[in-house]
């Protein structure tokens, strides 16, 4: 659907179960997902921008869809900084918005987003990156159950090092918060948090819920021979004759 919309250079909002993608002329200009922290969380939680600064920008520039521009023009953010933060947020939300779902996909023509256009990305790039991210998660630790379960830390092995970023994540993991909640709490992109949680789980520093079965686990190969029924009284005489015959033959 996204590819088709890109081909017809559509403008509007693509609504899916886990998020929304905004397009202008078939290119992705913004994305939102309840699972991914928005620009406001990323900027204010890290202390980059005071909350009032963000609110002011939305109040004053939201109506003419130029919040991003306003943040730069008022000197609160650098040009490159806005672009990088926005791109990070867009790809993060798109990852969830484009996740496989059984729900409906709708497109509303002409709908725009109040943040305004920063740097449009091609729909193919968004789709390619989303696929790459999905594969990366499974390459790290193929247990999708850790993505949604509360994060429960486990004690580290002696001399097992944990990086500063993941230490902060473990410190915030109280056994109740899920990865999405941790991302919001720490002001980090949700995909980055998922990836960190999967890496921690692979290193044994986070519990992997027990009922989990690996996503990519191949079905056990079908047995080559039908299972042999248990025999209670083996025919010893027959087996002896068989053995003797084999020995004579070889």
């Amino acid at each position: 659907m996204l590819v088709r919309l890109a081909a017809e250079r559509a403008t509007g909002a693509l609504l899916r179960d886990h998020g929304t993608l905004y397009l202008v002329d078939g290119r992705v200009v913004h994305a939102e997902s309840p699972a991914a922290p928005g620009m406001d969380v990323l900027l204010t939680t890290a202390g980059r921008l005071p909350r009032e600064g963000w609110d002011e920008a939305v109040d004053r520039a939201g109506a003419h869809r130029a919040v991003g521009r306003f943040l730069v023009d008022s000197g609160r953010l650098g040009d490159g900084e806005l672009e990088i933060c926005h791109l990070g947020a867009v790809f993060d939300a798109a990852f969830f918005a484009l996740s496989p779902t059984s729900g409906p996909t709708r497109f509303r023509y002409g709908v725009g987003h109040w943040f305004g256009t920063v740097r449009p990305v091609s729909a193919e790039a968004v789709e390619r990156e989303t696929l790459r991210r999905r594969e990366l998660l499974d390459a790290v630790w193929p247990y999708a159950s850790v993505d949604t379960a509360p994060v429960v830390p486990r004690p580290a092995a002696p001399h097992q090092g944990v990086g500063a970023r993941r230490r902060a994540l473990l410190a915030a993991a109280d056994g109740v918060r899920t990865p999405a909640e941790l991302a919001r709490h720490l002001g980090r992109p949700a995909f980055h948090t998922l990836l960190d949680v999967r890496r921690l789980a692979a290193a044994g520093l986070v519990e992997t819920p027990l009922d989990a079965a690996p996503d990519a686990a191949p079905a056990p190969p079908a047995p080559a021979f039908p299972p042999v029924p248990p025999v209670s009284d083996p025919d010893i005489a027959l087996l002896r004759r068989l053995r003797d015959a084999l020995e004579a033959h070889l």
Binding site: G78, D79, L87, R119, E129, G161, G163
Partner: protein, 123 residues
């Protein structure tokens, strides 16, 4: 203050540059690439080099070195690959990746220019 595109254009203007990328090293995503061409797929290089950065960060943690990586140099037969970590004020970890042709590049100059570029990008 420059945006990503200008920064990357300046990076490939460095003598001997083959290609450059701005990479988010947690996810391995290239936020922008320039140059490269057939012999060097920068998006693949971006994703692959995040492992280099992560391995080095881990090695330093294990050694108990409380330092930050400024840059990483990889020397090949005909190329230099320079990785410069950006000190971002938001929580995203980024690095600039620059591939240089060994016989045309001046390494000290390239490092210096990359440093200046980082300051301009204001992240």
């Amino acid at each position: 203050m420059t945006n990503v595109e200008t920064a990357l254009k300046e990076a490939v203007a460095i003598d001997g540059a083959i290609g450059a990328a701005l990479v988010d090293y947690t996810s391995g995503m290239a936020l922008g690439t320039i140059g490269g061409g057939k012999e060097l797929d920068l998006t693949v290089a971006a994703a692959g080099n995040t492992d280099v950065v992560r391995a080095k960060v881990r090695a330093m943690e294990m050694l108990g070195l409380d330092e930050e990586i400024e840059d990483i140099l990889i020397t090949l037969g005909t190329q230099y690959h320079l990785i410069r970590l950006l000190k971002s004020r938001t929580s995203q970890g980024l690095f600039l990746y620059l591939a240089l042709s060994k016989d045309r590049a001046n390494l000290a100059m390239a490092r210096h220019q990359l440093k200046k570029l980082e300051a301009d990008l204001e992240v």
